[in-house]
Point group: C2
Chain length 355, copies 2
Amino acid sequence: MPTVPPAPKAAEAVDVTALLERGRTLTTPVLRAAVDRLAPPMDTVAAYHFGWIDAQGRPADGDGGKAVRPALAVLSAEVTGAAPETGVPGAVAVELVHNFSLLHDDLMDGDEQRRHRDTVWKVHGPAQAILVGDALFALANEVLLELGTVEAGRATRRLTKASRALIDGQAQDISYEHRDRVSVEECLEMEGNKTGALLASASSIGAVLGGADEHTADTLERYGYHLGLAFQAVDDLLGIWGDPEATGKQTWSDLRQRKKSLPVVAALAAGGPASERLGEILAADAKTSDFANFSEEEFAARAALIEEAGGREWTADEARRQHTIAIEALDAVDMPERVRDRFTALADFVVVRKR
Amino acid sequence: MPTVPPAPKAAEAVDVTALLERGRTLTTPVLRAAVDRLAPPMDTVAAYHFGWIDAQGRPADGDGGKAVRPALAVLSAEVTGAAPETGVPGAVAVELVHNFSLLHDDLMDGDEQRRHRDTVWKVHGPAQAILVGDALFALANEVLLELGTVEAGRATRRLTKASRALIDGQAQDISYEHRDRVSVEECLEMEGNKTGALLASASSIGAVLGGADEHTADTLERYGYHLGLAFQAVDDLLGIWGDPEATGKQTWSDLRQRKKSLPVVAALAAGGPASERLGEILAADAKTSDFANFSEEEFAARAALIEEAGGREWTADEARRQHTIAIEALDAVDMPERVRDRFTALADFVVVRKR
């Protein structure tokens, strides 16, 4: 059973795998060339983070991730009639900002693993994680601004706004950890900052580089922002009910980390017996120190309560709502039908994915 | 006795104190307004870092530092005939980048004190130091790019280059800590990155915002870069022989921190009996764990050896050399005589200061 029922059908003709592959193929060499500019040992540390080498410095064939952002960035260039290549510096800049935030967030959150590998701060120490994160952030602006065009200045300004939102989201995430209760609205705001803002950049930056007007850029940002919220809602579902084989994470991953993700906050907000029982259990859990030793059954019981209280269904609905808003946003601008179909297909992919 | 003999005289008419005060007065309110944009609790953490509030959140009248960078930034606007105010967003951006690097460097270096106060990571924790540093870095670009002009794009591009140099310099600084020997050239390169690059930005960013051509901007950067090296050479002298009353640091501060600063590397490179003896002592020190308990006399003996080997004189000469290169660089551009005199006076101030 898919986590979210199939979304409204996009034009059948779009090959999403090929679209993702195109974004990856166009972006990766330019991204690697940018990272190669870093002075040693930062170049090596960054290459480890991206999965291009292992901890011993040997070439590795890292999991490049789903590559939704690069696909969106090069696609967005086509909105203006420009070649997909026009979006590449934007795709690279967005990837650099995303990875800057991963490097710093992993350290702040004390996360020891990412994509089945030790995180940078575990392997190379906290100072390198800070330093290389800073360098990637600076490099993102450099890659755009060295284009020397007015469009590049506009793209950088928008990306800077998204970066600030990303940082705000992380600040919220940290502060929520220390609180007993987080409202659904607060959770959505945080996810909008942490995921929506950068997906908004990815979905518009190629168009901005291609000379799109402000209305077109704003519209594509709106598509990307809501797609980001849909993406995160699905991520939150997978974080509890995802298949470990597919996600590469532990069972009940987000529950183990006591994450106040959407299904949890929605279940707590729902009221009723299951909601109240869940609230009592999680309040007790918050005071427990041997949480890591809980059995599968104990996590499964919590997941069942979240589902019973309606948190799972609410989050699946939310993914569909945000998916719909994203696709409808596209109506506000003229673009080639072929390009619109691709945006729609990528949105569909985001909500039906299993990893 | 001044650390460095008085530099060549600038026009008597320039009131450096007033020039520094002008930079501070123009810049501080705009800087505070920018920092106020940060979401809680980052605004509070940043305000603590800048010395505007104390650790309990009460208003404080913090030591704003020498404010050489803001003075340079607003002065540089006048090169183009623009009002000093034109340079203010540049001054603010440079201050934001400088303070981003302080926040992160203090954490990476484990420094617990800055300007007689506990550092941010000591008071608010490592996560806030990382996060607020990131936010200030993003804010620097935001403050410039929201001007929306071509000049702002150029200024951001140059500031981004300087930020990358700053990060490179910190990477070098960290790597040198783990090495027995650092050459004079390596030390100068690191100091050029850590101090020269941002002073180069400060000295040119107002002019760039005022529409200066590339030659003028490059020339002012050259002035600022060498002034930065002079500044750092004086800092390195004060770090060993500075008057604690004036600097606010401990006696023999840099020796206590085992810093491989210019006087030390120059003394080690000089050869001769004192140089060799110093090399033996520092090699032994590197293996010592109770270094913090050394007596005043033990540090004084090391300082005497550095001086005997010529490290103090070489560094003072270097400060003068760089000061001269900086001032002579100004000859490459036309500017009002009054503005040139002020650049010269600020350069003189940098090398004769005692704190």
